[in-house]
Amino acid sequence: MAKAAFQFHEIPDWRQTTFHADSHPYDRLPLMRILTYILKRLVYLIPVLIGVTLLVFVISHAIPGDPARMMAGQKASREAVENLRRSLGLDRPLPEQYVHFLTGLFRGDLGTSIRNQRPVLDDLKDFFPATLELTLMSMVLCIAVGLPLGIISAVRRNRPVDHISRVFSVFGVSMPVFWLGLMLLLLFYRNLGWLPGSGRLAVATDPPLHVTGLYLIDTLLEGSWDKFGDAFLHMILPAFCLSYVYLAIITRIVRSSMISVMGQDYITTARANGLAESVIILKHSLKNSLIPTVTITGLSIGELLGGAILTETIFNWPGMGKYVVDSVNFLDFPAIMGFTLVVSFVYVMINLLVDVLYAFLDPQIRY
């Protein structure tokens, strides 16, 4: 039984050659690699962004009926409508109108609202902080509750906590947001009287000095504690209502990705090495689960912008969502299209951000 004597020598492995520190100049600066990755993603996005403007243009100009009349309003005279048509360039061929539309966008011109004759952009700028505050608060709630709930659900799989959170998830995904808002109002405003029912501050209260437009911050900066409390109370129901659906989604994603991660071999290795269970969950498993979680969270922000429409209407929250619903009732098309354009741009940008974050979290993505 002679032991075979193998010569010990390295078989040249092409993969080995990449890790010598000075093989590729880019390796010295991982920043370069990340920047090129971002650039690549941006280049992919540009046609999509153009497509978005094209789609909005098509929708707004393919409206059956006369756009000029709609802009002028039902009561304008025929002459006024013709003047408007000419001044808006609506008698020009479509491609030319599209170019005009695009250049207008670059200048920040989103059209003029029919309702109040102001540039749509200015309107949106006014209402944006309220929506931002609501969306941010909802996001915080989603992550602060969804992440731990998902982790606990995964770790205590099939125990009572898990079952409850799964039921909660199904309800969340199926919930009509506007109905939830009404039910919350019924319970907390009408029946229990604990929380206010509309607006950002109590009626006839002056808003704080405008620094950021986010009342929770501005009131603190101003030092008005009671206004802060008031703003906070007004925020609770709308934020919860808005976040409910995405909370459920995030919990589900965290749970399922944690379960899948914790079944992996490298977790067994970590356990076999004697690492404490908390370290295994919070360090080794969590970072791997974050990848799908971050993706969904990012996408949710975009959807929150959509859901804000309904929540703001129910709670009379003076944000972009309520603005667009009022515009719909008025058939104020420039406002509607302006809102749609802005929201989708933000959505696309957030997706880019999510992609970049992906690269930071998953080292296998960076190329």
Partner: protein
């Protein structure tokens, strides 16, 4: 001929197997029961609803739930239970129409994109990406507003929003199926691309399409109700659930029953579809089908 018959036999056996697995899964059964109830209500509404949904009776306006009117009455004295039941008709009809349109168009687009590959695939998918760059409700709202506030336009708007979801999924499956041997065999025996797409690729995606359709049915009903709530879909006095909530909102404080019951039905219906869809997805998971 014989080959087609054998194929049908195999398909039927697969179907029986699926149904057997489904019946053992508690959430599948629960979802199915909920949906079946809703369908029953929807179909039977004209016959089993206690009152005429549009009959006005101002004497009884805004009366609370009682043995006479189980869900109470609205501001015109119409029985809310009957209206809710007719609302099921409308919502389910919207859901089925939207999914039928979006599913067939989306699947066709996806199958073509996946099969053709390279440039065509690239272009088609970029277009789908553009549509997916909008939050669904926002795009549906813009479309519905532009087309005009009525129910049929709302259906078209929501269908448009759903198309890329089907397209994306079918395209992924088509890419996978494309590589399989029998496609090469079919092409070798002279089959044209269109025939291959419709006779081979699409049937293979069938189960995934069904799952997606079930899940998206729930989302469709939600979006449609939201559109009506904003004022862009069904218009009052149509007893559509979202529209009823929109009107009922004014009466929330003193006549709680008005917006509560329609919303409850929306919730139940969507839960039903979501539970069933989830269960279907679990069952079709290849790890579980031995």
């Amino acid at each position: 001929m014989k080959r087609i018959r054998k194929e049908r036999e195999w398909q039927i056996r697969e179907l029986m197997f699926t149904i057997k697995l489904l019946s053992k899964n508690p959430s599948a059964v629960a979802g199915f029961v909920i949906i079946a109830t809703m369908v029953f209500i929807a179909v039977g509404a004209p016959y089993i609803a206690p009152y005429d949904p549009i009959k006005i009776s101002l004497r009884e306006r805004l009366s609370p739930p009682s043995p006479v009117h189980i869900f109470g009455t609205d501001e015109m004295g119409r029985d809310i239970l009957s209206r809710v039941m007719h609302g099921a008709r409308i919502s389910l009809r919207i859901g089925v129409l939207v999914i039928a349109i979006a599913g067939s168009l989306g699947a066709a687009i996806g199958a073509v994109a996946g099969y053709l590959g390279k440039q065509a695939d690239n272009i088609i998918m970029r277009i789908m990406d553009v549509i997916l760059s909008f939050p669904p409700l926002v795009l549906a709202m813009a479309l519905a507003a532009a087309l005009g506030p009525n129910l049929n336009n709302a259906i078209l708007a929501v269908a448009f929003v759903m198309i890329p979801k089907f397209a994306r999924m079918v395209r992924g499956e088509a890419l996978a199926v494309k590589e399989k041997q029998f496609i090469a065999a079919a092409r070798a025996s002279g089959a044209g691309s269109l025939w291959i797409i419709f006779h081979h690729i699409i049937p293979n995606c069938f189960s995934s399409v069904i799952i997606l359709a079930t899940l998206l049915l729930g989302e469709t009903i939600l979006i449609a109700a939201s559109l009506s709530f904003i004022g862009l879909g069904a218009q009052p006095p149509t007893p559509e659930w979202g529209a009823m909530i929109s009107v009922g909102r004014k009466f929330l404080m003193d006549q709680w029953w008005y917006p509560t019951f329609p919303g409850l039905f929306i919730l139940m219906t969507v839960i039903g579809f979501n539970i069933l869809g989830d269960a279907l997805r679990d069952i079709f998971d290849p790890r579980i089908r031995r």
